[in-house]
Structure formats: structure tokens, C-alpha cells
Symmetry: C2
Subunit: 261 residues, 2 copies
Amino acid sequence: MSVLTPYQIRQQCRSGAFSDNTSGFAPGFVQANMAILPKQYAADFLQFCHFNPKPCPLLGMAATPGAIDMPSLAKDLDIRSDLPKYRVFKDGKLTDEVTDVREIWRDDLVTFLIGCSFSFEESLLADGLEIRNITEKVNVPMYRTNIACTPAGVFHGGMVVSMRPMLPADAIRAIQICSRFPQVHGAPVHFGDPAAIGINDITKPDFGDAVSIKPGEVPVFWACGVTPQVAIANAGVDFCIAHSPGHMLVTDLTNSKLSVL
Amino acid sequence: MSVLTPYQIRQQCRSGAFSDNTSGFAPGFVQANMAILPKQYAADFLQFCHFNPKPCPLLGMAATPGAIDMPSLAKDLDIRSDLPKYRVFKDGKLTDEVTDVREIWRDDLVTFLIGCSFSFEESLLADGLEIRNITEKVNVPMYRTNIACTPAGVFHGGMVVSMRPMLPADAIRAIQICSRFPQVHGAPVHFGDPAAIGINDITKPDFGDAVSIKPGEVPVFWACGVTPQVAIANAGVDFCIAHSPGHMLVTDLTNSKLSVL
């Protein structure tokens, strides 16, 4: 399966043949977080992304409300069917998990695509660095922090961070590599003492799974794409569609195109 | 005095009018560490620099034994007189500190110039970061470590590091900035636990002065230009001339020219 092109994966999502986690599929290609909101929220959400580029790096936005394509990121895209799995939220609550949202699509819905850490993890692995959550075959641990996002309209909340433990010399190398990728969260925002950013127990992530931290390693924290989901929940929007965690939109853009250097 | 050009400073060194520490003079211009060795050691020392580019980033080497100029780095240079102060070593021991070495110059002496942390400190300050040793008006603290340099011929020894305490978020920014300057030690080599690199007491530097470390800060360690001096001492070379600490060669090269990005 891993030799499928991004277009083939999207086509299999559309036909219903593929509904899995996309981790490890289409190596080298950008995978994106997705948020779809009614147009009355779109200007505020765009501003929230603009104000908070590290947790909410905007890769793309639909040209108009109702548009289902995004030609600059994916050929022949139908955003309503080309992800493997969707979550539907009403009044801030998860109401459904489906493989297709064509039946509930509305002409006032605006699609946003946000960068994902899969892109920089690929570059870290290519450099020979270990990524603990990959080694231990679990989801990356994520934590709520006391780092406040800059609010915009109805959207507000604390930054969520992902954590990867590393030896200090490896963390320095990871900072260099991730600095080249500002559109997929960029350099870490913190390392070392979890309490300094409001994390009380590093062994109990708020999202994802705990990973082991070995002697000599420090936790390294990156701004995380779960942040906008928390802001959307805080905003109490009446309707929202998002990707199901780990079930991303696979785009035609290569990760190397996101490198600014 | 700080408005003097590099050329004017070198001329005042030559005439004897200037014999001070060069810190803060000629802002924007590269200042260099200097080592002058008899030619029988030159090939080994060049190899040592090549093998250990982080502590020994070679900015320049005299074209031939006995040459007193380095046209690519400094106009009309006479390396025998154009630094404010020199140290002379015989059989590994400091025997003299002078403002001019014309009388002891020999036709077999080979000059090496090595990058200095003054260059990256300027970029850190320009970005708004605090450098504690500058704030506290002392020399940067430096420590011997258990990080082994790669030996070359007679030259060998552990890496010496300089230390600047920072909050983690500032350390991440410093890593980004210093990564642009590989010829002046580049990114840090370690942060956090001093014992992990063989430093037993952070309050007792082996060279320079101690600085305060405030709550929430971590020590950040850079490869240091004192490393080649230790290797030269270990090699037991019979004759060597070096700059006096802090009394550097001020070159005509701007720091911005050392940026690889």
C-alpha cells in the first residue's frame, strides 16, 4: 500500500477502499490537518491562524465557501470524500465519525488545511534521529500548556504541544532541521522542565500516548496542530468537520517544498 | 575609540598606541584568535583544525612560512605587530607577554587565525537576547569537558566549551542564529546537565569567570577557541606565539560575511 501515490490514496478514500490511518503512506508527501467551518467563523479562524502560526500553520484555504477543491495542493480534490475518515461536531460535541461527508455538505462551508508534524518527523528520521513515538509504535504524546494563544474573534485557548524526548545534542540538531520547516510547526517552543510551560505530569499526556524518557534525555516540545481543535471547541461553533486523528489529507506537495532553506 | 576602523585599530597596535582588550571595538567586524607555530607543526595543526571544525574553525592560514600578511582578511597586515598583545610560549610554558613580536620573528613561523565567539554574540545581542557575561561585565566562563577532540599528529585533547545561561525558548533562538555561523563555532554542542559532558562544578570555570544562572535558565555550551590552545599545550611544542586572551586580531571582514544563510 505504501507505494500508492497521493492521488491514488485520495481516489481509494473516495471509493471507500481506504479508511486507515495515513501514517507511513506516501512517504515524502505533505499530509495535512483539516478543519471545515461555516463561513461566519472563517474570518475569525483565519485571523487565529495568522496570529498563531507555530501551532496553526495554514497550508491552504478554500478559494470560496462551498469549494471542494484546492488545486495548489491536490489534483482533482473532493474534500468531502478524499480523506479516509472524518469527524463531525455539532455545538462543540463529536456527533459522528464517517468516511464521507458529501451528504452533509453545505455551500457555506470553508475548508482550512494546516501543517502536520509528519513532515518534519520524516526529515528528523532521514538525519538518523530517533523519534520515540515511532520507535514505540504509539501516537505522539501531546499536552495542554499555559502558553496562551493570541485570541481572534471567538477563537481562543492555550497552545497544545507534542513532545519527543532526545539527548541534548540530538535536540540541537532537531532544532536546526525543524527551523527549515516553519509551515509544519517549525522549531520547538520549549525543552526541559515541563512545569515551566504548565505541564504537571509528563507521564500523563492530554492527547496521544505516553512514551519513555531515557536517562540523559530531555523532553522537547513542539507547537501542535491539535491547538486549533481546542480553540474550535472553546469557540462553541455550531457545526464543524475535521479529519479523524491520524487520518490526514495526503497532498501532492512534497515535504521538501516546505523547506525554506 | 569604538569608532575606529579595523585598519586604524591595527595601525594603533603597530605604533603602540593601543594595547587593550578588543571586546566592543570595531562592531560588525570579525575578530580572530591567533596561533603561530613553527612549520614542522603546521601540517598537524591544520589537520587538527580540519578534524575539529566546531572548536577550531579556521578563518585563515598564512600562504607560506614566515609570511606576515593575510590579504583576504586584513589590508596591509603585519601579524607581528597588529594585535594589541601577544603571549609567547616555550616548551609549553608561558614565558612572555608583549605588544610586538618583530624581534623574535622567524622565517619558519606559520600563522593560523581561528573564529571567535564575539561574532555570534553580536548577532545574539542584535536579536534581543541577553548574554550574561556581557551583562555582568566579565569574561565568558569556559570549561574543560570529556568530549574528546579527534587527534591529529602531536595535537590532542578534550574540547573546551564556553557557557551562556538562557531560558529554553531563548536557547532555541540562539541555536537558530548560531547555526548560520559555522566559522565561529556554530550551534551549541550541549545544553542542560553539565555532568553529561564531564563538568563537575558549573560555578568553577576552568577559564574565564563564573556567571549567575537564574531560575528557569539552562546552561548552553558552545565549542570554544581555547580548545586549540589546550591541544598546543598538550603537544609540547617548543615554540608558539598566541594572542593574549581578549586581545584579538581585528580583521576587515564583516561578521555578516560569515553567515552561510
